[in-house]
Amino acid sequence: MLRITQFSKTYKGGKKAVDDLSLHIAPGDVFGFIGHNGAGKTTTLKACAGILDFDAGEILIEGRSIKAEPVACKQGMAFLPDEPMLYPYLTGIQYLNFICDIYRVDGETRKRRITYYAALLEIEADLGNLISAYSHGMKQKLALVSALAHEPRLLMLDEPFVGLDPKVAFTVKQIFSDFCREGRAIFFSTHVLDVAEKLCNKVAIIKAGKLAACGNMDEIRGDRSLETIFMELSENA
């Protein structure tokens, strides 16, 4: 689904954000991407989403290069940044319509999906309001509905659980599980190790731009907690 091979990104001024990173996210994976602040998680996600150019390596989405065929790659995926960047001058429903138009979702299908996910995330009643009136959590829910409305095969999210109340976080975890059961994949970064431990079947830990550990959750964790592993790797690597 997503294959990152020897990916490196150096920012202007010489700071190497990511160095020689290789990952493989297969269909059905819920892949957690863990690292401390500034480790290179967002840089990696943005490069995979085709937002950020990069110097070395290759990123393939369903076998297509994000550099060579960006539009085809983006058509089958959705990316949600940590801070939902939604146009404040649109209403929720206008924004969802806009996204569905961009991803060419027909009228009937979009209505069905939007109604379903908006009801699940308890946001339907607010869709007629301007986004500028939304709270942070509501914006996150709307962004999630917009990502799911075009049924991507790959969902990439940067810190999706920040700002969600416990009930919504539970619903989102359910949605993620269902999503991957249908053969699609999720690649997300998080600081919430507990969520990663319960939700993900695979995990990668990145430190200072370099991959510190990667593999199946059970193999990585062994009989210890993910937190312990993460702390050990953070201190030793």
Partner: protein, 531 residues
Amino acid sequence: MRNIILLVKLYFTGFLRINQARRGKGNGRARAIGMAVLIVALCALFFVMLCFYFYFMGIAMDTLGRAELMPVLALAAACIMTLLFSISQVGPVLFQFKDYDLQMSLPIPGKVVASSRLLIFYIQNLAFTLFIMLPALGAFAVLTGPGVWFYVTALTTLLFIPALPVIIGTVLGLLVSLLAARFRMKNLATVMGMLLLLVVVVWSVQFSMNAEAMEIGTIAAIGQAISAMLFRIYPPARLYYAAVFEENILSLLVFLVLPLALSGLYALLVGKWMPALHTALTTTRSRTAFRTGAMDATTPLMALYKRDIRRYFASPIYVMNTMTGPLLLLLLSGYLALQGGDMLAALLPELAAWLPVFLPLVPAVLLIMGCTTGVALSMDGPYLEYMKGYPLRARLVLWSKLLVNLTFSLPTLLISVLVLAAALGVPWQSIPLALLIGTGYVLLISALGLLINLYFPKLEWNNETEVVKRSLGTFLTNLCGMLLVILPGIALYAIGSPDIAPYLLLALLALGNLSAYLILERRGEALFFAL
């Protein structure tokens, strides 16, 4: 006072990319320095031009024996402009700035925040006032060699000149914004209210100029009529005149104390109600009973276009800045149609043969002033990065922004050319050619504006005014557009053949359009993703 200075300093640190120029690295720094140098050079050029302009105006006024009216005229012009700026910018600069939440959460009184915003506004307008007044006062000093009183009072009052129009404009703009905030379509109501207020101000200036027929029997009477007109246009100009040129100490005191007192009162009242005012201006009506109804699908281009249209109308300052030119064009066309353009043709009989050539140039100039593409990408600011994540070619995003400009420009062009042609008695055979030339200009400036914005984006901003009013995108689009009209216009007039001129101009425009759209097509994608 310390906190006010800190907040003002904070604002100006980010102003005009000064901090990036000082502390940035690599290309960003070079670009910021390059921009700063370009801005300073262009300002210096305009300043020198103004010096010459006021010098020659001073000579003309001196022949009337009233050279002192020249600085008063400059003062009235600067103050009216400041008043208009203040009315239109009150929302984004004073209340709807990005770091409002941060500043209001700091342990400083609201009146400090209010004062700092007013001071920022004042400093910006002071720069404009100095730009106008210094050449005028300098020219007056060179021409008349005034005494010490002039130098002392002229320099002292200089700092106080913009204060009064800033306060008046701010209060008027605030009242309109608060009134508009009560409507459901708040932004549209704000735009309509602001435009109405601007029309009232412009009309009252026009009315003041025409209030009395000038007695031009004697030279002294001409000077008298001009001074009376200036005092009607901007009444505080009488105070300034009495203070600086009649050495009236009471007038000087009133001129200095009045804006100070009003500023203090403003800071006190607005500071007290700052959160309430901010809430009234920024909150939106919410409903909690939405049900998803039938949904129509459309093409990605149309979706982008609809979003861009909504984005346009969501920003009163953007609308005000770009609607003024087209509105003026329609008003001018209507005025000429009512007044009879024959008068113009009779006044300039030697230009009659050139009317078909110049007919589309007037709309072109005013439509360039209303070009939306020069800042269309900048206005999307932080959202642009995430637009790159959509499965779209950048071409579609750029075309959508072009279409927004064409939506407003082409109908305005059509109406104005037809009305102007009828008013000026231009033969109907010349109208298609005039429309083609006008369309050529509209298409060219739309593409050029977009290219300028791609090369000189301003994606990080504190309020929309910074983008719309003070970004290189706006400035360069207007400048290039004007040059594109003026230079070929002069060159073709110099050739001296009104029969060939329109076709030459059309050929030039075709070439210009071809080049601009080719560059946009070939470089647009890369430039967009490099933003």
